[in-house]
């Protein structure tokens, strides 16, 4: 029976308070492709870094090579002796197994620290994971916010680097960004796994920046197991992993690894119960890669429909608010029924439909500046975009 999360709750609510949170990564699976990626990146590296170079690189798809002896990436940790059963999803049955498991966990925890990053985009903070030497970073769509936006990536040592958001698959909450700067020797990046090979019960290790970037803490490690995998009805592809690696705002976009240190998912959302934690499977990033790299944005984030809580007449010549939902974002901002909306974020609008479209294009937590006319007065009203009730 698929685990039905109790009220999936996008973690980006913190945006509303400008707090930090969330982000994640993703990537495509396929095992090892380091060599191929490295080769592909050479020309790009030679170019001056900048938008053109970034554009060029985004068209390349870090893809898998055949499976070699050792998977490419900085996070792979060969499975310790005697851990085969545990790796397949069993509980350790002896003290030796328990100790082998914890050694494995601590090695992976150490290895994934360098690839786990904090992502700051607009007023939101989340996590992310670097997945290629040329700085592709997987994150959650709700962390990336929108396509082609400037973002800041904070590395494990506190270094801040510039990044740009690429595309996002909002249906699955998968987002992609790229670090604009290059680094000699390439960025430390995660070894990619395949979510299609996962089994319920398998152990996994999550990292991220719960509550946002905290210098004294760095990425926080959690260990859990895969509780269930939800699949599409049609093609059987996994669209959500459920684990008991506890997540909270700020973790969104952070990576989920196997005991071998292979990236298998990106944190996305949570339910009220501490064991309801949802991750975007890595394979989703693989199938969405081409479109995301082209900076396409598609789909609707589950439970992430932006609203401001006003009603108006669609056919009205002028965007007049006919009623305001009590306690909604517009109400809290002080907008009243009868207000005439003149502009949204500096762009003049002339129909209620335009207002509706502007809200739809926004992300919950964003602050939208409405200029309204009330009687003789013209008022500037910043409205914090809310989330539609499901």
């Amino acid at each position: 029976m698929p685990l039905s999360p109790t009220r999936p709750r996008p973690e980006a609510y913190e945006r509303q308070r400008g707090l930090d949170r969330q982000a994640n990564i993703l990537w495509k699976t396929c095992g090892t492709l380091a060599l191929l990626v490295a080769v592909l990146c050479q020309p790009a590296l030679a170019q001056p870094s900048g938008a053109a170079a970034a554009q060029e690189r985004t068209t390349r798809k870090p893809i898998t090579a055949g499976s070699s002896s050792r998977p490419e990436g900085a996070t792979y940790v060969a499975l310790g002796n005697g851990l085969q059963d545990v790796f397949q999803g069993k509980e350790p049955s002896t003290l030796e197994e328990l100790k082998a498991l914890e050694l494995q966990q601590s090695l992976v925890a150490k290895a994934i620290e360098k690839v786990t990053v904090n992502v700051q985009q607009g007023s939101a903070q989340g996590s992310g994971v670097i997945i290629s030497a040329d700085g592709y970073v997987l994150t959650a769509a709700h962390v990336a916010g929108g396509a082609d936006r400037p973002a800041t990536v904070v590395l494990s040592d506190g270094t801040r680097v510039r990044a740009r958001t690429l595309g996002m698959n909002r249906d699955k909450d998968a987002g992609l960004l790229q670090i604009l700067d290059q680094r000699e020797g390439g960025w430390p990046h995660a070894t990619l796994g395949k979510s299609s090979e996962l089994k319920v019960g398998q152990w996994c290790i999550a990292s991220g920046h719960p509550g946002g970037w905290k210098a004294a803490r760095g990425a926080a490690i959690r260990v859990g197991r895969i509780l269930s995998i939800s699949r599409n009805r049609d093609d059987g592809e996994a669209h959500t992993l459920f684990t008991d690696c506890a997540l909270i705002g700020g973790d969104s976009g952070g990576p989920l690894f196997t005991l071998e240190g292979k990236l298998i998912g990106v944190h996305s959302r949570i339910g009220t119960d501490v064991v309801d934690n949802m991750h975007v499977p890595i394979d989703v990033f693989a199938t969405s890669w081409d479109r995301m790299a082209r900076k396409e944005v598609w789909g609707v984030l589950p439970g992430f429909q932006p609203v401001i809580g006003v009603v108006g007449a669609k056919r009205d010549e002028r965007p007049v608010i006919s009623s305001v939902m009590a306690g909604g974002p517009a109400d809290r901002a002080g907008i009243l029924a009868g207000d005439l909306v003149l502009s949204v974020d500096g762009v003049k609008i002339t129909t209620f439909e335009e207002l509706r479209l502007a809200v739809q294009a926004s992300t919950p937590g964003d602050i939208m500046l409405l200029v309204v006319q009330r009687g003789e007065d013209v008022l500037r009203m910043p409205v914090t975009i809310g989330v539609a009730e499901q």
């Binding site: 049955s93 002896t94 150490k110 959690r222 197991r225 895969i226 509780l227």
Partner: protein, 406 residues
């Protein structure tokens, strides 16, 4: 679904239920699960426990059943999901088999864990730090009034005296009249690496009450100011409540939207500002007396202040973070682990897979994080406390060194 079960046997019986679940067919479970979970025979360690009569008469929450005390409803602890969730979560990292896997790792070290109860309910765990009956626990979880009982590994229960508290560490030193007790075996050499297992031991043999891993190393947690957990606006009747944070002291006190608070600890408060002034300077865990006006009916209630971090001051946050310790900020040096604890499971030893005590659980701080004082902080502090206490108890009248908790 609701359980009724004896408090002390609850986790054990849930585990038994779970074992049954796992071992037998689903059908069987569906047919008999309810009965099993409700009235599982007390063949667990619970049968050996002698609940003092005094506790029975003072407890209000439950009623005696087979000589045992029942708590209704139970606190649902996330590592042991309720029965209906048993099947879907049979792979949880903290399932029965996993807890059992720690049996050998914990070894004998669980014996220096104590369970502290008041009014028949667990208020905290504690650690035996001296064989002459000295016990250390989390101070702010102890009740402001009423006796505290201390249950030991051998099933015996003793009334505990509060001897001393250390407010900066939120530690309390208790004493019971026992000698030759097994003392915690500290390992103060280093905080374990991230990803290493930690077991929160229990007074029951065999399995810990919860397990988790180290999430992050030593760090400072800044003190947040204590709040009751209400949003207020000024009104004619006093400071009117417009929002009650779930899980806060305000909710515990039964406050509702629309209530007006007009008196705090004997100070009249007719405005929001006055209320804030009255609460300001309070500390997490402190209980304040509130006079409330609800639709012109006046009553008094008690609310516990919590030093909630800023990011928790939000309805949604409080809901997803679950129950949080009233005192969960203001520590100079703690390390973080991901064990899912209830606030009343703090105060006891945190054991590594070598059976050594590497820290003391000091707070449940949120959904992803519990705090532990490292052994290198607790051990010297406790030794100093005991030294002082022993000195004082030789030279001063016993009563004079008993201090109120808060």
């Amino acid at each position: 679904m609701k359980y009724r079960y004896s408090q002390h046997g609850s986790q054990a019986s849930q585990q038994v239920v779970k074992k049954v679940l796992l071992g037998l067919s689903v059908l069987f479970c569906l047919a008999f699960g309810q009965r099993l979970s409700g009235d599982w025979p007390a063949e667990q360690p619970v049968a050996t426990l002698n609940q003092p009569a005094a506790v029975v008469t003072t407890a209000e929450a439950g009623q005696p059943e087979n000589g045992q005390f029942v708590q209704d409803p139970p606190r649902r602890s996330a590592f042991l999901p309720d029965f209906s969730a048993g099947l879907r979560h049979s792979n949880q990292r903290s399932n029965f088999f996993m807890l059992r896997a720690f049996h050998d790792a914990v070894g004998e070290s669980w014996k220096s864990t104590v369970q502290l109860t008041s009014g028949g309910e667990q208020v905290a765990f504690g650690a035996i730090v001296d064989s002459d009956g000295w016990i250390v626990t989390k101070a702010s979880e102890l009740p402001a009034s009423g006796n505290v009982f201390c249950r030991l590994y051998d099933g015996t229960e003793h009334e505990a005296d509060l001897v001393e508290t250390l407010s900066d560490l939120d530690l309390a030193l208790l004493q019971i009249e026992r000698e030759h007790l097994p003392v915690v075996c500290w390992d103060a050499s280093a905080i374990p690496d991230r990803g290493r297992w930690l077991a929160t031991t229990d007074v029951r043999a065999g399995v810990p009450s919860a397990v988790g891993v180290v999430s992050a190393g030593a760090q400072k947690v800044d003190q947040a100011s204590a709040v009751l957990g209400v949003h207020l606006v000024d009104s004619a009747q006093g400071a009117a409540v417009t929002l009650v944070l779930p899980g806060s002291g305000a909710e515990e006190a039964g406050l509702q939207i629309g209530d007006s608070i007009y008196n705090v600890n004997g100070h009249e408060v007719y405005t929001r500002e006055a209320f804030l002034a009255a609460v300001r300077g309070g500390v997490g865990g402190q209980v304040v007396k509130l006079s409330v006006n609800r639709a012109d009916r006046k009553f008094e209630t008690y609310g516990r202040l919590m030093d909630l971090a800023d990011e928790l001051l939000d309805e949604t946050e409080m809901e997803v973070n679950g129950r949080i310790s009233a005192r969960a900020t203001g520590f100079q040096r703690v390390f973080l682990h991901d064990t899912v604890l209830e606030p009343n499971q703090c105060g006891g030893p945190l054991v590594n897979t070598d059976g050594k005590v590497v820290g003391l659980n000091i707070a449940r701080a949120g959904r992803v994080c519990s705090y532990a004082l490292p052994a290198d902080v607790v051990q010297p502090a406790v030794e100093k406390l005991i030294e002082q206490a022993k000195l004082v108890s030789k030279t001063v009248e016993p009563e004079s060194n008993l201090r109120p908790i808060r």
